[in-house]
């Protein structure tokens, strides 16, 4: 459990932890490193102008066939030149004539975040290189088994149980915790951004909306996260928020894994915000002090009291009592009361029966390489292509479930 959060040794101080450490003498982990010098972190790399560094990178990868084509990016399957059996996905960002301000923000965000994040449950970015006409190529981990959305929606062919849900949720929660530990907000967690690798490992992908935690005074934009998975504070246009925006989305994914359709759906932002109010409870000064100060807060016409455990037990009994507790902690309306990604991982549900399925035993139907191609070509915050979304646009009348 090298990635377990319990190994962090951060003192629980509310000020920023500023423990100093010396620069470690260890050699970096990169494979091409030849650092052997003991008390020095780095031996000198052979001097090269950056243009030749780029060509060298480019030659390491081979594109085989195109599996996705979009307005934003084209996706190819390829392999390492040095190891033809090791497959990769290459996301080639299209030169965008519409975006007039240079390299697009989505691209910059994605590259910036993925270059820093190395985790078994986060899609690996092996390299970035440019081809001659200034196209950016992102060399990504190969995820041939589709995405979690395919598995959730294929109710006829894919059957799974709580142990499987626990396994997927565990992988997702570790990925999200790791992002936050690196001060990165994902801001677009949803089932079709959760790809499945060949070995069944779940991979958080699409960092096109990701950003670093802002400094305390800095304002952030609120129109983030695909609508069904967006937390209430973003609907209310909060400009200062934290990692728990992602935790809300994780809660939505957990609910969707059980229900097999999105828990909170609306055709517009306002409708979806109202759905949160109806489904989870209406945000008020009582349950969320300060909420009425948020810019887009609308005084509710009818106040639905925050749902209590029996409501969730009815819908999600398969998760068990503590699973429901966990989900409810992710659906706290007030972001300050919502569980952090670390608290989520510390929840007792993970320790309880059933044990999470081993990744190799997880259901693996999915749409395969084409789904990966489809997922990777998208720009952050976009819903999947029409055809796929239509198939799944089901609604549920939560009003009828009340009582």
């Amino acid at each position: 459990m090298a990635m377990s959060p319990t190994e962090t040794v951060a003192p629980s101080s509310n000020t920023k932890n500023t423990v100093v450490r010396t620069k470690p003498p260890k050699a970096p982990q990169t494979s091409n490193s030849s650092a052997t010098n003991h008390d020095k972190p780095r031996t000198a790399p052979a001097p090269q102008l950056f243009e030749s560094l780029n060509d060298e990178e480019k030659r390491k990868y081979v594109k085989d066939k195109q599996v996705g084509k979009g307005t934003y990016a084209d996706v190819f399957v390829g392999h390492f030149a040095s190891s033809p059996s090791t497959k990769i996905a290459i996301k080639k960002i299209r030169f965008n004539a519409d975006f007039k301000d240079g390299i697009s923000m989505d691209t910059i965000r994605e590259i910036r975040a993925l270059q820093e994040l190395r985790h078994p449950n986060i899609i690996a970015l092996y390299s970035v290189f440019s081809s001659k006409n200034q196209n950016l190529n992102l060399v990504l981990e190969y995820c041939p088994r589709g995405d979690l959305m395919e598995l959730i929606r294929d109710t006829d062919n894919v059957h799974y149980g709580t142990a499987d849900i626990k396994a997927w949720m565990g992988m997702l929660c570790r990925a999200v915790w790791f992002c936050h530990e690196n001060f990165i907000l994902h801001r677009d967690i949803k089932p079709n951004n959760l790809l499945i690798a060949a070995d069944g490992e779940l991979k958080l992908a699409d960092f096109g909306l990701a950003r670093s935690f802002a400094e305390p005074e800095t304002r952030m934009t609120y129109n983030m996260t695909t609508r069904f998975y967006r937390p209430p504070e973003l609907f209310y246009q909060a400009r200062h928020y934290s990692g728990v925006v992602d935790v809300w989305s994780v809660g939505c994914v957990m609910a969707e894994l059980v229900l097999r359709f999105p828990f909170i759906q609306g055709d517009t932002d306002i409708e979806t915000a109202n759905k949160i109010s109806e489904t989870i409870g209406t945000p008020t000064e009582d349950n969320w002090p300060g909420v009425t100060q948020l810019k887009a807060y609308l005084a509710p016409t009818n106040v639905v009291p925050v749902k209590r455990k029996p409501f969730y037990m009815d819908l999600f009994s398969s998760l068990g009592s503590s699973g429901v507790d966990l989900m409810m902690s992710m659906f706290a309306l007030d972001p300050r009361k919502r569980a952090t990604s670390k608290q989520v991982l510390q929840h007792e549900w993970w320790q309880q029966e059933p044990r999470p399925s081993r990744k190799e035993d997880l259901p693996k139907r999915g749409g395969g390489v084409e789904v990966m191609g489809d997922d990777l070509k998208r720009r952050g915050g976009e819903l999947p292509a029409e055809g796929r979304a239509d198939k799944v646009a089901r609604k549920i009348d939560f009003g009828a479930m009340k009582k």
Binding site: T8, P11, K23, Q29, E116, Q134
Partner: protein, 404 residues
């Protein structure tokens, strides 16, 4: 997972941290490669120019000068002298870095954007030379890139107007800069940790600090020690230098003064020296604090580790050597000297990269055309790939049965 492990996974550590020796040799190597290219290009051009038929194309004084060199027959030595030296090239980069700070200050941008822009510039010039990409053409695009990566999001038009540049001048080098940064945009700043240190010091002053395990003292004891700290004798603070901080308010004033001074160092000196390449953000932050108030910072450090920790001397040594660099400060040449260097650079620039805007336009035009013929290009590439794959196989002999 410790903070160290998180930091070691960062690109700042993996790609942009060096020993002083490695840093120097990287710069020297880059300069040598760029200078060699310029010299070689000049030699071949001179060969052409010396033939009268090609003379009409000679651009400006350059052409004439080279013509003279060529007629002189042995011009090698003259060429070498003309090129900016490694030291001069670095002086020019440093000079423009200070100009970049001025521009960011003028724009009233957050310190994080400025700090990132500066670090981009310094990183870029590790694998690129001013001979190829003069800093005057690179700073504005780089600052704009930092504006995007730090989510500051000023639009290009607004920026171009404020920075007094055209859109093309800002966008054309963007890709070059990103490539030079090896597409790593994240920079970890000591500025980020400083407010945390400030808050911790304040709570130490209040006697409410959460004490780390192993330090072996209570918050109250630490508060008392803090009160009794002498002032920095070297600092010319007049009468107050001899006094001790007698009460909590004056102690807090002292901490605040140190914080402001450290913050200033991190926003200026730290950005203009090599400390980011040589030390971790927390080491740099502590070094800036150490310069601002040595007794205070030395004491603060003891609240972070058990007194007997073998790490303590090593950490101190790292912080002190970083502080020495900050204390020495950057050596920014005068405007007059910079003008001389610029004039010299104009004579020895890489002639292939004179017009970045034009080059960029040509690239993008090609890009569009290529998009149109994507299929044929793809087909051709596929054939080439298959060909090379076949050749690869043939290297080891044909596979049995495959040939039929």
């Amino acid at each position: 997972m410790t903070e160290d492990e998180v930091y070691r996974a960062s690109t700042q550590y993996r790609l942009w941290s060096f020993t002083p020796h490695a840093l120097a040799s990287l710069r020297a190597g880059t300069h040598a490669l760029a200078a060699e290219k310029v010299t070689a290009a000049r030699r071949s051009k001179r060969d052409v120019v010396s033939r009268p038929s090609a003379e009409g194309n000679g651009v400006d004084s350059n052409g004439a000068e080279e013509g003279r060199d060529a007629s002189g027959g042995v011009a090698n030595a003259a060429d070498e002298v003309e090129c900016l030296t490694l030291a001069e090239a670095q002086q020019l980069v440093d000079f423009y870095c200070s100009k970049a700070i001025e521009l960011c200050n003028h724009l009233k941008w957050p310190a994080a954007v400025k700090a990132t822009a500066l670090q981009y510039l310094r990183r870029f010039y590790l694998s690129a030379s001013p001979l190829t990409y003069p800093p005057s053409t690179i700073i504005k695009p780089t600052i704009f890139l930092a504006n995007k990566t730090e989510n500051h999001n000023l639009s290009l038009d607004e920026y171009a107007a404020k920075a007094k540049a055209t859109r093309d001048q800002i966008l054309a080098p963007e890709f070059i800069v990103s490539q030079g940064l090896r597409f790593t945009f994240d920079v970890r700043h000591p500025l980020r940790g400083l407010p945390g240190a400030y808050m911790e010091l304040l709570s130490l002053a209040d006697g409410t600090a959460e004490v780390l395990e192993g330090v072996g003292k209570t918050a109250e004891e630490l508060q008392e020690e803090l009160m009794a700290l002498p002032h920095d004798t070297k600092k010319a603070n007049g009468a107050s230098a001899a006094e001790k901080a007698a009460d909590v308010p004056s102690l807090k004033r002292r901490i605040h003064t140190a914080y402001i001074a450290a913050n200033k160092a991190l926003e200026t000196t730290a950005l203009l020296t090599d400390v980011y390449f040589l030390y971790t953000p927390s080491q740099i932050m502590f070094a800036a604090l150490l310069l601002a108030d040595t007794p205070l910072t030395t004491f603060y450090l003891t609240t972070k580790l058990p007194p007997a920790s073998p790490l303590l001397p090593r950490i101190r040594a790292a912080i002190e050597s970083c502080a020495r660099i900050l204390r020495a400060g950057p050596h920014i040449v005068s405007q007059a000297e910079a003008s001389r260097l610029k004039a010299k650079l104009e004579r020895c620039r890489d002639q292939d990269k004179l017009d970045l805007v034009g080059l960029d336009r040509a690239l993008k035009r090609d890009g569009r055309e290529e998009d149109v013929v994507t299929e044929s290009v793809a087909k051709r590439r596929k054939l080439e790939r298959e060909m090379s794959a076949r050749e690869g196989e043939e290297l080891f002999g044909p596979e049995i049965g495959r040939r039929a």
